[in-house]
Structure formats: structure tokens, C-alpha cells
């Protein structure tokens, strides 16, 4: 009888470990990048609504793109005071690392990734004075960085589709997909970010 109990306990422990591993599989796999090129503009990722963890935009005559490999998450979200949300794009322009941070009011408090569906269909005017846009550059050669706040003179970011992603009966992440475009001036130079698109899977590692 005692042997049976020990055996049952061992089986239960093994089952818990196996189910934990399966959960990890889902998590890591959904956080990976799936790059599908745009047919019309192959240097940009195609606009998708699947949580492929990509973004891309024209940046003057170059491209601001998410990394396809590496440890960096392409996009992060964090909840801020006064019902604001911070969205950070981590990518590169040519060989330079670039970060674009947008803090915007979203009308209601979003405290977890599951509440992100509240953004579905919303457009944020980036010229709104309550919106703060910051860009940072990292030069990978001499390891220097510079950061500055910019004032877009036009443009917006649209959350075209926010879905909860349910796999095998469990909601595992929110898929946030949309488009962004804006222009700004800095140090007398004009910068245009156009044809921007993003498709990000958001779970508790991406939203904090």
C-alpha cells in the first residue's frame, strides 16, 4: 500500500513537471519572431494580426526594423499613472540600435495584458500634448547612445486589432497589431516615419 502511494506521488510530480514544460513551450514559442516579408516592400514585415513579434517602418530613406534574432523583445508595454500606457519599440536603423518610446493616455487604466483589448480600434494622435515621444540611438561600434524627446508635427498610431490569443482552450497572450506614421524635426533636420506596422504578442513578460 505504501509503495502504491509513493508511486502515485511520483506520477503526480512527473505530471506537474511535464505540464510545466508544455506551458514553457507555448510561452517561448509565442515570444519568438516570425518574419513574413511584405510583398510590395520586402524590407518591411507584412502587416499581420497573429502576434508574430515584428515591427517595421520607413525612416526617411532607411528602415526602422525590429531585430529578427537576439534576446531583445521587439516591443514592451508598461502601465503608467493617469491611465497612460508606455509603448517601447526596440529595433535598429541600419547598424544603429534605435528605441522609440511613446507614452499616451488611453482613456482607462490598463493594468495587465489581458486588459489590452480596450485599445482595439483606437487611434492616438501623436500631436496631442499629452503624448510624449522619445527616441534613443545606440551606436553598436563605439557603444554610445543618445536620447531625445521629439514633438511630432503630424501623425498617429492606430491599434487596428487587439485580440486575445487562445491556444488549446487557454488565453495565452494579447495580440496587438496596428500602424503608425509621423513626422518631426530635430536639430533642423526633418524625419519622416511612414508605412509603420507592428504585430506584437503581449504576455506578462512584455507588459509590466
Amino acid at each position: 500500500m505504501k509503495t502504491l502511494r509513493i508511486l502515485a506521488m511520483l506520477c503526480a510530480t512527473a505530471a506537474i513537471f511535464i505540464s510545466c514544460d508544455a506551458e514553457k513551450d507555448y510561452k517561448y514559442e509565442l515570444q519568438e519572431t516570425v518574419w513574413v516579408s511584405d510583398e510590395n516592400e520586402p524590407k518591411l514585415p507584412k502587416y499581420t494580426e497573429q502576434g508574430y513579434n515584428t515591427f517595421g517602418a520607413r525612416f526617411n530613406r532607411e528602415y526602422f526594423l525590429s531585430y529578427r534574432n537576439g534576446s531583445q523583445f521587439p516591443c514592451l508595454f508598461s502601465s503608467k499613472e493617469n491611465n497612460k500606457l508606455e509603448m517601447t519599440f526596440n529595433g535598429h536603423v541600419s547598424s544603429k540600435g534605435m528605441q522609440l518610446k511613446i507614452v499616451f493616455p488611453c482613456g482607462q487604466a490598463i493594468r495587465s495584458w489581458k486588459e489590452m483589448v480596450a485599445l482595439n480600434g483606437k487611434t492616438i494622435d501623436l500631436t496631442d500634448p499629452n503624448v510624449v515621444v522619445t527616441t534613443s540611438y545606440v551606436d553598436n561600434y563605439d557603444n554610445t547612445s543618445e536620447s531625445y524627446t521629439i514633438t511630432p508635427h503630424n501623425g498617429s498610431i492606430t491599434f487596428k486589432k487587439v485580440n486575445l490569443l487562445n491556444i488549446d482552450g487557454v488565453v495565452r497572450e494579447a495580440v496587438v497589431a496596428g500602424e503608425f506614421n509621423f513626422g518631426y524635426e530635430y536639430n533642423g533636420n526633418r524625419y519622416i516615419i511612414s508605412s509603420g506596422r507592428f504585430d506584437i504578442g503581449v504576455d506578462e513578460d512584455i507588459f509590466w
Binding site: E29, E32, T33, V34, W35, V36, S37, P42, K46, Q50, G51, Y52, R68, N69, V117, N120, V162, N163, L164, L165, N166, I167, D168, G169, V171, V175
Partner: protein, 249 residues
């Protein structure tokens, strides 16, 4: 060179009087074809599930791996117009099985889409089996060899009608068995009618009764699977046993 070849064919065709050579035979045939196809991201319901480690290789978004095998059995009465030319017609049963999976061994399939929720199911494999009844029509041109063997060329078409489809969906999580029928409906069926065209080269053995084998290359008029994009079945092999009967004039 071309002219010489044409002259040989014409002479061979006309060298034997048709009346003497008229003969009926019945061929019992069995054959198989196999092909692999790579499906691009054309399925609306398919979510890719792996990272593009080599950006160039996966630049086109290719994802899954599929294969198709068709097996067929036919009975074909054969009318020998001359020693070189025969006409065949008959009845054929074809069973075409196609599989689809990813190189990881599983993939995610969207079975439901609500306003703000996408529902996927993890699937190991799709297997679709389609059965067809067809009428094979063919022309055979025999180049006489030495002794009891001869080489022949055959070309034909098999107008076929689909009579049955079976979708087998292998799901990872048994708790999701309830959505199988919905996924099967999404997979759908191929077109009801298809017309494989083939050309083959073969060898025939005549020892009173005759047998042959041939290697047909088949092109499908439409695919024999609802998820295969390739319309070619490629090379296959066909074996035949021919019962012959001479007709006295």
C-alpha cells in the same frame, strides 16, 4: 535527326497491316505516384510557429511540409490497332492521401475567430484521403524490341470524379477533440472533378501472357487535396498484367 526519327515512327506504324494485327487484351493495372509539396503561408487559419533562424531561407514565408501519394487500380480493355499502336479505355479507382505538418511536428490552426479573440488548436498532422472513380483513356506506342521484351510509350488522361473524402486531424491536446469536426469543415474538400494527364515509358514482357511496368509522370488538372498547392504528382510506377485474345478475321 528529327526527320529520321519521324520516318522510323511512321514506317513502324504502317509496316504491319492493321487487319492482321487486330487483337483485344484486358489490362489489370496497379500503380502509385508520390510527390512532396511545400505550402506557403496561404492558409488564413495557419499560424507559423517557429523563428526564422536563417532569414534568407525563410524569406518567402515557407512553413509547412506536405506530401501526397496516390494509389490506383484499373481494368483497361486494350484494342491493338497495329503491332505498334494500342488504344486503351477502362475504369479506375484512385485513392489519394495527402499529409500536412510542420518541420517541428506540430502547428497552430485557427478554428474560431470572435471580435477580440482568436482560438487556435495545436495539431500534429492533417491527413486527407480522397477517392476517385475515373475513366482512363490512353494511347500506347510500342517499339518492338528483341526476344520477348519491348519498350513502349504511353500517354493518356483519366477524367475522374471524387466519390469520398476523409479528413483525419491529429490533435495534440485530447481535450480539444470537440473542435475536430469544425476543423474538418474548414479543411474542406478538393474539387469534385479532376483530370490527371500522364506520359510514361515502360517495358512489356510477352510470354504468351504479357506483363509490363512503366514510369508515368502525372500532371493533375486540379489538386487531389484541399491543402496541396502543387498540381503535379510527379513520377510513379505502374504494373500491369495483360490478358490477350486474338480476333480472327
Amino acid at each position: 535527326m528529327k526527320k529520321n526519327f519521324l520516318a522510323v515512327i511512321i514506317l513502324a506504324t504502317l509496316s504491319v497491316p492493321a487487319a492482321k494485327a487486330q487483337q483485344w487484351g484486358i489490362g489489370v493495372n496497379a500503380g502509385t505516384n508520390y510527390c512532396e509539396f511545400e505550402t506557403e503561408v496561404s492558409f488564413d487559419n495557419l499560424r507559423q510557429g517557429y523563428r526564422h533562424e536563417n532569414e534568407w531561407y525563410y524569406e518567402d514565408g515557407s512553413y509547412g511540409v506536405g506530401d501526397m501519394r496516390s494509389r490506383y487500380f484499373s481494368v483497361t480493355p486494350e484494342y491493338r490497332y497495329s503491332n505498334n499502336i494500342s488504344f486503351l479505355a477502362g475504369l479506375q479507382l484512385t485513392v489519394a492521401s495527402s499529409n500536412f505538418t510542420s518541420d517541428k511536428g506540430y502547428f497552430y490552426w485557427m478554428y474560431d475567430k470572435q471580435d477580440t479573440e482568436l482560438s487556435y488548436c495545436t495539431i500534429h498532422k492533417f491527413r486527407q484521403t480522397n477517392s476517385y472513380i475515373g475513366v482512363p483513356l490512353a494511347v500506347k506506342f510500342v517499339v518492338r524490341g528483341t526476344g520477348y521484351t519491348s519498350v513502349f510509350f504511353q500517354g493518356g488522361v483519366t477524367p475522374s470524379v471524387r466519390v469520398n473524402t476523409n479528413n483525419d486531424i491529429q490533435i495534440r491536446d485530447l481535450a480539444m477533440e470537440k473542435v475536430k469536426s469544425k476543423i474538418s469543415d474548414q479543411l474542406g474538400t478538393p474539387e469534385n472533378f479532376c483530370m490527371p494527364i500522364y506520359a510514361s515509358v515502360g517495358v512489356q514482357f510477352d510470354f504468351g501472357l504479357s506483363a509490363s511496368f512503366q514510369f508515368p509522370y502525372t500532371i493533375l488538372g486540379s489538386t487531389m487535396s484541399s491543402f496541396a498547392e502543387d498540381s503535379q504528382l510527379g513520377f510513379g510506377i505502374q504494373l500491369a498484367y495483360i490478358f490477350s485474345k486474338s480476333v480472327k478475321e
